[in-house]
Amino acid sequence: MKYYDKLIFDLSKEGRQGYSLPSRKWNAVLADLPAGLVRGEEPALPQVSELDAVRHYTNLSQMNFGVDSGFYPLGSCTMKYNPKINEEIAAHPGFAGVHPLQPDATVQGALWVYEQLAKSLSEITGMAEFTLNPFAGAHGELTGLMIIRQYHMARGDEKRTRIIVPDSAHGTNPASAAVCGLEIVQVKSKENGLVDVEDLKPLLDDTIAGIMMTNPNTLGLFEKDIKEIAALVHECGGLLYYDGANMNPLVGMVRPGDMGFDVLHLNLHKTFSTPHGGGGPGAGPVGVAAHLAPYLPVPKVVRGEDGLLHMVGADGEACGRVSGFMGNFGVLLRAFTYILMLGNENVKMVGPLAVLGANYIKESLKDCFELPIDSVCKHEFVFDGLKDKSTEVTTLDVAKRLLDYGFHAPTIYFPLLFHQAIMIEPTETESKETLDGFIEIMKHIAAEAIEDPESLKTAPHTTPVRRLDETTAARQPILKYKDII
């Protein structure tokens, strides 16, 4: 692969341009602006030809690795293939050209998509109603916790300020709870990786706002005691929050609403095949049971007496507003397309095939890699490093070596329950041939760790950049372009 790391400013040549705009066209408007708001000098924009710009971004894009270029078994991230028809529908001018401030009567199609996607997600998860407004998974978590808090406050139950989070939870759970002003209480896992109900019981009292759980949990294991946990938490007056990051294996088979969860978020970029945006547009819809529906954030989509769908912005009971408008609509549209393209029958195949793929890899590799909890997993599982610990080859070395063979590395060093965690999630969209190819390379790497450990410790060898010095990057980060040059 060609190494390319230029910034577009490096290419800039004074006076070079692709297109030119008519000059001084807006002077009349500028004259009305207060003097302090008018720019004194031209902005320092890069000056490049169209070809320079195209080549620059094409070269940069080829430094990237995505699901479209290879297998991406990044545990907990559900890197499934995103069908191209999602893009085609989202780019349709009738959708791409709408503006959030258009009169409701002129965007009935978009509002219908919003309403129908909310209904589809309600059906898939067993919840009563959805807001599609939150912009990401963690934003959905915060919204869900705001709803829980609002529920308790509305009942005058103001001392419920503590939230229980298992020690195996995604890091976003305690982070979101802290942002929401809740105090985090940790519940331990048992040897078998599941939440310890006996450790949970003494934590339950009238200060508990609820519990946040993901099921299957971060080890890919189904929390079999969920019904008992739900009964205990409800009995003490708390609510159950479902972190939908691990929803993929359940799609079409099991519904969080039926397990007793009161609030959940979904990551559309995981389960519903919208792009993982590298921090770009995401969507974290939040579903609630009927008794929490009044507290969903505004604006809401409501069908009015005139028969039309309306965006309703004010609602006294709502937990507040978490977005300017109706979420990242283009992302919602992609998820809706995905659900329609699968249809009622095929949507039931998502979960089982995701589970089958994960178990196939797990069983094929457990002789070479340490499997700390040997049971049937759901969509993902965790190895605790190589089986042979005598080589001092670490999980990081294995992950870096995988890059040499054209695979994206799995999630490593999470969950924190194991020191050498390697978390693998293949998703349902990969063929058996791809899984076999990955298994073969993982076995090969395990053999290399014994025969030629140096090749792992110095990996990667074939990537545009070699092993990065993450420690120095963390200790002495260079954050500005000017510090590099």
Partner: protein, 127 residues
């Protein structure tokens, strides 16, 4: 294998305590620094902060993870190791030579609840 030092007290959350009079000198163990990997940041309390046994008093961060620090004893922070602000790697280089905080203990009997080196080694062997 991670080393230990005789004569120190050890907590289940991998802190060590060295006692000098009524002052507890607190750090993290060699086992802990090894498990964390190269440390990039040490979050410490301020001098005069009151801390409670078993409660969080700071955190250590590495490129792999962040982990809270739990105080083995209750008392008042009398000194923090300012060298760690610019050089967290000191804990990787020698976890027992480089302490994190010094605490004026309010209840030295809390030390009795901690482990000695042999008991701590046995606990780590099971991790």
């Amino acid at each position: 294998m991670a080393k230990t030092v005789e004569g120190l007290y050890y907590s289940e959350s991998h802190e060590w305590v060295k006692v000098e009079g009524n002052v507890a000198i607190v750090g993290i163990t060699d086992f802990a620094q090894h498990a964390m990997g190269d440390l990039s940041y040490v979050d410490m309390p301020e001098v005069d902060d009151e801390i409670e046994a078993g409660e969080e008093f700071g955190a250590v961060e590495s490129v792999k993870a962040a982990s809270d620090l739990f105080s083995p004893v209750s008392g008042t922070v009398v000194e923090i190791n300012e060298a760690l602000e610019d050089a967290p790697e000191l804990l990787n280089e020698d976890a027992f030579e480089n302490w994190i905080i010094k605490v004026e203990m309010s209840d030295p009997s809390q030390l009795e609840a901690l482990m000695d080196a042999a008991a701590y080694e046995a606990m780590c062997a099971n991790e």
